[in-house]
Structures are given as structure tokens and as C-alpha cells.
């Protein structure tokens, strides 16, 4: 059943008789995404058996709302990891954005202007990361690790050890109340971003570049692809969306402090990797990430229903992350043992 995530996107036909699309479909169903789907169904069934209220729209939306900032950021992170990079600074940028908003609000800047300025801070932070990655040529792991510390530090400089609250009611309402049918603004942003990024990553030329650079940066460069521009776009987008998520957090909670979104980067990256995106870049899909987001949300909800505390939930998700890569490896290993006993059906192929 399990196929390593990296194998999901491969689309060659073993036999020539089966048409491409059927092969692609079965690949998906029996591949990583199918695996995720079955886990999702199991968790949902367990949840339903625990509480009849579970499948109501209200509860489902609530589910999303509790982690909405993380899952918004996870969408852009998917593109960054497929591109062969990583952005560890997103959670700190969320914190910085929330604190900057609080600080601007406190010194009397009108809220709409403050929102605009915060988004600009987000873009500037992304541009700062980009400079070190594409101009100086440092690995993004190091750059964004430094800015994980750096952005958080700036957030602390702005609010020190205070908490800022009492934002205008309309601002808090944006984070808390439904604005279209039962949907709050943040969920609409998530759904809109998801649809937009699916088109960008899987249908557009830009998305092709994202994959190609992730597979082999040099090949892309030698083919005239503007690698620096693609990376800049992704990092600036990532940081700006993180700033937006920070604002949504401030609106939802109605207060900011220096430790807003502390440690969120782990959850975000876990969701992406669990979705079958290769940490080495070049493969993965937003569909997989969407499934993994749903699993994580439902799992947390389900655990809450059976009175499992937040810390254990985090541990379980950590475990899930490791298993998501370990299980396919074990399967491949066992498959190898099997074929060694029956040499005629060995895996692999001639050079």
C-alpha cells in the first residue's frame, strides 16, 4: 500500500496498455495520498463515534479556526519545500507581525494603516531572507534559523514583556465572526489561497519552475530559468502570508504578546512533510498537504474529545511525522528482503 512520497508524482506506465490517467489515478489511490485519505477516514470515523456533533458544519469550521494561522502558512511552505528550501522563520514572523500591529495600534496609528504597514514588514522580512539566500548564497536553513531568532527578538523589542489588547471591535470581529454564511474571514482566506496555489503549483509555468528548481537547481539555471526570482517570490510570499497570519491571530485572540505563535514552525513543517512533500525538494503536492492538514486537525479534535491534553497531541503529531517517512522505508526494506529470497523478481533495474 505504501509508496514513498517521492514516488507519488512519477507517472510512467509500467505497462503500455493502461492509459496514463488511470495509471495516475491508481498511483494516487495506492500511493501516499491514498494512505493519507484512509488515515483521515479512520480518524473521522473515530471522531464521529465519540461525538454526534462532530460532523456538523459548526464543529468543522471551529476545527479549522483553532489552527487557521498555521494551516494558511503551511500552504506557502509547501511550495518552498518543494522548491528545495525551507523557511524556519515563519512563526517568528507571525509573532513579529502581531507585535508590530499591537505596537503601531498603541502609538496611535489607525488600524487600516497599521495592517498595511504590518504586511509591508512581512514582505520586507521575506526580502531580507531572500537577500542572504540568493545574493550571498547561504543555505536557507541557516538564514531562516537565524531569522527565527531575529524576528522573534524584534517582536520582543516592540512589546517587551507587555501584553497589548483592546483592539477595535470590528478588528476582533474579523478574526472571530462569520462574514460569509458560516465562514469567518480567515477560513475564506485559507480556501482562496488553497485554490490559487493549487493552480499556481500544479498548472502554471511558475509551478513547473518550482518543481524543476527543487529537483535540480543547476539544470534550471543552465536552462535560463530565473532561479533567484522564483526563490525571491516564494520567500517574500511566505513571509507576507506569515504576517497576514499573525494579524489574523491578533484578531482572533484579541491580544498580542511577545510569544505569539512561538514554536509554530514545527507544526507547520510537520503538516507539509506528512503531506508527502520530500524534504529534499522536487516532489509533493498540495492535495497531499491538504489531506495531512485535515488529518492533523481531526486528530487533535479527536484527542481533545477523549480528553488527551495538548502536549500529548503535539507528541502524537511528532510521532506521525516520523512514521510518515519511516513506514514506507520499512516496507521497501521488507520488500527488498522478500525479493532477495526470490531473486528473479528483484526490485530496481539495470543501469
Amino acid at each position: 500500500m505504501l509508496v514513498p512520497p517521492s514516488a507519488c508524482r512519477r507517472n510512467d506506465t509500467g505497462s503500455l496498455i493502461m492509459p496514463n490517467f488511470i495509471k495516475a489515478l491508481t498511483d494516487r489511490l495506492f500511493g501516499w495520498e491514498g494512505f493519507l485519505l484512509s488515515i483521515l477516514i479512520v480518524t473521522m470515523l473515530v471522531n464521529v463515534s465519540q461525538s454526534a456533533m462532530f460532523l456538523t458544519i459548526g464543529n468543522q469550521i471551529n476545527l479549522f479556526q483553532l489552527s487557521i494561522e498555521k494551516i494558511i502558512v503551511a500552504l506557502v511552505m509547501t511550495l518552498i519545500i518543494i522548491n528545495g528550501e525551507i523557511d524556519l522563520s515563519v512563526a517568528s514572523m507571525m509573532g513579529l507581525a502581531a507585535c508590530a500591529f499591537g505596537w503601531l495600534f498603541q502609538i496611535g496609528v489607525p488600524v487600516p494603516l497599521a495592517i498595511l504597514l504590518v504586511l509591508l514588514i512581512g514582505a520586507a522580512g521575506g526580502a531580507f531572507n531572500t537577500f542572504w539566500i540568493t545574493r550571498v548564497g547561504l543555505p536557507s536553513l541557516v538564514v531562516t534559523l537565524a531569522m527565527l531568532i531575529g524576528f522573534r527578538g524584534l517582536a520582543r523589542v516592540l512589546v517587551e514583556d507587555r501584553g497589548i489588547t483592546d483592539f477595535p471591535d470590528w478588528f476582533d470581529a474579523l478574526g472571530q465572526q462569520a462574514i460569509l454564511g458560516p465562514f469567518p474571514l480567515s477560513l475564506l482566506i485559507f480556501l482562496g489561497l488553497l485554490a490559487f496555489l493549487i493552480v499556481v503549483l500544479h498548472v502554471s509555468g511558475f509551478g513547473r519552475y518550482v518543481y524543476m528548481i527543487g529537483i535540480n537547481k543547476s539544470v534550471a539555471e543552465y536552462s535560463g530559468v530565473d532561479v533567484a526570482r522564483v526563490k525571491a517570490t516564494l520567500f517574500i510570499a511566505s513571509s507576507t502570508i506569515a504576517a497576514l497570519a499573525g494579524l489574523l491571530y491578533a484578531a482572533r485572540v484579541g491580544a498580542v504578546r511577545g510569544d505569539v505563535a512561538l514554536g509554530f514552525e514545527l507544526d507547520i513543517i510537520t503538516m507539509v512533510l506528512l503531506g508527502g512533500v520530500s524534504i529534499f525538494g522536487g516532489s509533493g503536492s498540495l492535495i497531499g498537504v491538504l489531506l495531512s492538514i485535515l488529518i492533523v486537525l481531526n486528530l487533535r479534535n479527536g484527542m481533545a474529545l477523549v480528553n488527551i491534553t495538548g502536549h500529548i497531541q503535539t507528541g502524537v503529531i511528532g510521532l506521525l511525522l516520523i512514521l510518515s517517512v519511516l513506514l514506507p522505508n520499512i516496507r521497501a526494506y521488507l520488500g527488498g528482503l522478500w525479493s532477495r529470497r526470490r531473486p528473479a523478481a528483484g526490485a530496481g533495474g539495470p543501469e
Binding site: S6, R9, R10, N11, D12, T13, L16, N20, V199, V203, S204, G205, F206, R208, Y209, Y211, M212, I215, N216, S218, V219, A220, E221, Y222, S223, G224, V225, D226, G282, S283, R340, P343, A344, A345, G346, A347, G348, G349, P350, E351
Partner: protein, 529 residues
């Protein structure tokens, strides 16, 4: 011959013929390494089918065959990377199993590959001795350096053993690997395409080292696409084709033509024959005083439409760097580049592409192709904007149709164009890379080592494509270390040495000898008119 090799039970018995070299009056059973009836099946295909081969101490055994003939698989079985499905391996007459690289090493079998396996952060001496298991827990740096110097000296080369391997040339790295093998007192040394990326001078050096190894009683298995080397160094030669043993003969008893016929299973005829020049009058590309600081200086030449212009020289002559400067990867610091008499500035790859310059890289796997992607996606990469809708979305059907056209035109052997490029053979990968740049319809096409590591048949096809391009007026620049290839293709030849231009020959003037004299700096020559 003590040979009654029956591999698979269901297999019809087939006498593999002589498996070692019979020309010497030696006893038949003195093989240091003998493979008997080795078969290897992968998922669906049989990569090797009852191969038998025997290696004697003090003998260089050539192994030739087209790509996919099974050479790599055979080597991997010898070195413990793969296990044979059938058949047995004997070392010094005793049956053994080679379970791992470590086991092969313990049996005295070592291999060096096209791309040397060195540790860039360790120094030369440590690279040689790191795998020694008999030296205790502690590192004695001084003794290690002294021992390394002794081994390097035995090889008759100049190399500072305290240098980090990261700064070594490919040839030097290979030397380090040979030194490593010698330090382990190997009985069998397998050399897999060792000269694929070496310059002529370095090849001579390697030949000398190989001869020395032979003299000291090592059995060498020498795999190469360059037949002249095999004739140069081997005592006997085995041909594989499609996983089958075709022939094993003393080198004195075969002719190059015979060998090629054995390899391809058909008559290829004169594929190195010169065809007539397609050069036109108009100058497409002109280069004046091109200089990249510390790399090359004062390069100047003109290439006409339809002309095939070769850059010859040894490795380290900086020919690739000139190509990369024209293509904008590593732009020149000084000098002029003119396209159709119009000066152009090339600072990045996109500038070059906008001027109709394309560059087919020498390193297919690292710089040329995205192996896990489809043939279609690889071909369209440089020209992707042509297959985008107004909204920036990919027009898949147009893209696939384009790839399909190239598949037919270049005879790329694949069921369909959605297949991962990584699953194709080397020759077909090379064609995909060609298609990728042909699709950009360049005015100037730079080929860097276009036929390195591909088999004879594919080589001829690549040459035909180059001629075809010249025929339609493309200015073709070929960078090649393969002198026979240069002489067969070129209308004119520019010889470089250590970043300097040594001279330009016309096809009529050029011979292997006078090119080599310039390339090695044994003769200075004023610029040809």
C-alpha cells in the same frame, strides 16, 4: 578449459567460448578472479545472461560493449553492489560470495569509476588510507603522509599529499583512487571508463600507471568506450552485447572493425568519415579578446553559419569556461561578443538565450536534465514561456505535441514522452538534452563533450544531428576531448592551452599530432590567417 557452465536450469546450454585470454602460454586455471555463468535479472529484464569472464594477474583485460550491454551490472556484481541471480564467482579458484563493497575489498577487488569517489574535505593522504582497517585506533599523521608520498611517487606523479581533495582535478582524484587501491594491495582493479573526462596527456599518464600495475601483477579489467585505448593497453578484450557474452580474444587477433561489429551486431561502416562542409559566408558569432580574469584570456574567433567549429585542448585548457562565458553562466570580464556583427552583452543565461545562443552541457546528470521529470517537461524547460497561456498556465497539449515531434525526429526510444528521463538509457538522455536546445531554435549551438560516455550507435546519431544542424545554417561550436571526433566533425579547430588560444587550424591542416603539439605547449604557433 575447465568450463562446464550451466547457469539457469531452464536455460539452454550454451558454450560461452574462451573466457580468458589464450594468447599467453599460461595455465588455464590461474585466474585470480573468475565469473562463471553469471546471470542477473532485474524486475522484468535480464541484464546479464550467463556471462563468463576470467582475469589473470599481470594482465589487462579490456571489456567493451554498447550502453546497456551489461558492463555496469557485471562490475557491480564483482564489487558486491549487486548479487548475481545465477552463476558463481571464484577468487583464486575458490568459490566466494561478494556480499558487500567491504567484502569485495577484503577479497582484493577494487574499482575506480568515471566520477571518482573521494572525500573533498579530507587531504590526499587521508583519502588513500581512510578505509584501511589494520592501522589501529589512532591516526599517525606523519606516517600516513610519508606512506602516501611513497605511493604517489610509485605512480610516478606529482601531487601534494597534504592538499584537500576538494581542490583536485578529476584526473588527480582518479590518481588518488588508484593510490588507494594500490595501498590495499589489490589483486583485481576494475577501471570503469576511467578516461571519459581526462585530457590526452592525463590519459597517457593513466596508461603508464596501468602498465605499471600490470607489471606488478595486478589483474586489471579495463572498460572503455574509446577503442584506441583498449588497443593501446589491453592484452585481450571481451565484448558484451545485450547482456550476453559475444567474444573474448587476444588483442592481437582482433581489428577495430571487428570489435565494433561485435559490439553493435551490425556493420556500422565508416561513421567517422568526414562529410562535406556546410559553412556559409555570413559570420554568425564573432568573439574578440574575450577574457575572464584568472580563467582565460584573449580568445578571438569567428564562426560562420553552417560551420562546425571545434575547441580542442587538454582538460584544464579552459574550453568549457569559454563556452560558459558565451552562454552567460560565468560571464567574461573583458572582450567583445558579436552576433551577426552586432555587439551584445551577455551577463546571464537569459541574455545568451535571447541572442539565440544555446549550450548543451557536458554533465547530463548534474547540469543537463531533471532526471525525475518527464521527457516533455525537460524539453520545454528553456522555452516554457512559448507554451503558456495568457494567464501563465501551461498548455499541456501543445507542449506534448512539441515533445512528440522531437521524439520522432531524434528517434528517442521511449514508449511515450511522459516517461521520466532518468529511466532512459544514456544515449536517449543525450537526445532529450539535444531536443531541449533544438527546440529553442538557436543560431549558435555550443556542444560540450556531446558524445562522452554514450555508445557507438548513439554517437553516430549525435554526429548526424550536428551535421543536420550545420546543414540548416546553425553555427555549431563543439568542445571535445576526443580527437578523432574533432577531426571528423570540424571545419576549423581552435586549440587552447591553460586558458590561452594557441592557434586555429582548418580541417585540411589539422592532424592529431599538430593539435597535440599545441595543446601540450610543445610548439608555439602564430595565429593562423
Amino acid at each position: 578449459m575447465p568450463l562446464a557452465v550451466v547457469a539457469g536450469k531452464s536455460r539452454p546450454q550454451r558454450r560461452p567460448g574462451s573466457i580468458g585470454c589464450d594468447s599467453k602460454s599460461s595455465i588455464m586455471t590461474d585466474y585470480v578472479l573468475e565469473m562463471r555463468g553469471i546471470s542477473k535479472n532485474f524486475a522484468m529484464t535480464a541484464a546479464l545472461d550467463g556471462i563468463s569472464i576470467g582475469l589473470r594477474p599481470g594482465e589487462v583485460h579490456g571489456l567493451v560493449g554498447e550502453n546497456g550491454a551489461g558492463k555496469s551490472t557485471l562490475i557491480k556484481i564483482m564489487t558486491g553492489v549487486h548479487q548475481p541471480s545465477h552463476g558463481e564467482i571464484l577468487v583464486d579458484g575458490r568459490p566466494v560470495t561478494v556480499a558487500s563493497a567491504q567484502a569485495a575489498q577484503a577479497l582484493g577487488i577494487a574499482a575506480i569509476y568515471q566520477e571518482p569517489m573521494v572525500f573533498p574535505d579530507l587531504d590526499v593522504a587521508e583519502n588513500i588510507f581512510i578505509i584501511h582497517r589494520d592501522q589501529g585506533a589512532f591516526v599517525n599523521w606523519r606516517r600516513m603522509h610519508d606512506d602516501a608520498r611513497a605511493i604517489i611517487a610509485r605512480l610516478g606523479i606529482v601531487l601534494d599529499v597534504e592538499r584537500a581533495a576538494s581542490g583536485l582535478t578529476l584526473a588527480e582524484q582518479q590518481t588518488v583512487e588508484i593510490a588507494r587501491a594500490i595501498s590495499l594491495d589489490v589483486k583485481v582493479l576494475i577501471m570503469d571508463e576511467p578516461t571519459a573526462s581526462l585530457s590526452a596527456h592525463e590519459v597517457r599518464q593513466l596508461m603508464a600507471i596501468t602498465a605499471m600495475l600490470r607489471a606488478s601483477g595486478v589483474a586489471v579489467l579495463y572498460i572503455s568506450h574509446r577503442l584506441e585505448e583498449v588497443f593501446d593497453i589491453a592484452d585481450c578484450v571481451t565484448v558484451l552485447r545485450d547482456g550476453q557474452h559475444i567474444s573474448t580474444r587476444p588483442i592481437a587477433e582482433v581489428s577495430p572493425e571487428r570489435l565494433v561489429t561485435d559490439m553493435v551486431g551490425r556493420d556500422v561502416g565508416e561513421f567517422f568519415a568526414r562529410s562535406k562542409s556546410h559553412a556559409r559566408d555570413e559570420v554568425v558569432l564573432a568573439v574578440r579578446n574575450l577574457t575572464r580574469n584568472e580563467v582565460f584570456s584573449d580568445i578571438g574567433f569567428e564562426v560562420h553559419g553552417g560551420e562546425i567549429f571545434c575547441l580542442a585542448g587538454l582538460i584544464g585548457a579552459r574550453r568549457t569556461d569559454v563556452g560558459l562565458a558565451l552562454f552567460g553562466v560565468a560571464p567574461a570580464d573583458e572582450g567583445e561578443i558579436l552576433i551577426a556583427s552586432e555587439p551584445v552583452r551577455i551577463r546571464r543565461v537569459r541574455d545568451a538565450m535571447a541572442r539565440g545562443i544555446a549550450y548543451v552541457s557536458e554533465d547530463r546528470r548534474k547540469l543537463g536534465l531533471a532526471l525525475p521529470e518527464s521527457i516533455t517537461a525537460n524539453i520545454s524547460l528553456p522555452t516554457l514561456s512559448a507554451y503558456l497561456s495568457k494567464l501563465g498556465l501551461i498548455r499541456r497539449s501543445a507542449e506534448r505535441a512539441m515533445a512528440e515531434t522531437h521524439r520522432r525526429r531524434l528517434n528517442i526510444k521511449t514508449p511515450h514522452v511522459g516517461i521520466e528521463v532518468g529511466k532512459l538509457s544514456g544515449g536517449n538522455q543525450q537526445k532529450v538534452m539535444l531536443a531541449k536546445w533544438l527546440n529553442a531554435e538557436p543560431r549558435v549551438l555550443i556542444f560540450d563533450e556531446p558524445t562522452r560516455g554514450i555508445d557507438v550507435g548513439a554517437k553516430a546519431e549525435v554526429h548526424a544531428i550536428i551535421h543536420e544542424l550545420a546543414g540548416v545554417g546553425v553555427a555549431v561550436i563543439v568542445i571535445s576531448s576526443d580527437l578523432p571526433e574533432v577531426l571528423a566533425l570540424a571545419d576549423r579547430i581552435l586549440v587552447m592551452r591553460e586558458g590561452r588560444q594557441m592557434g586555429i587550424f582548418t580541417a585540411a591542416e589539422a592532424t592529431q599530432e599538430n593539435i597535440m603539439r599545441l595543446a601540450t605547449g610543445q610548439a608555439e604557433r602564430p595565429e593562423a590567417a
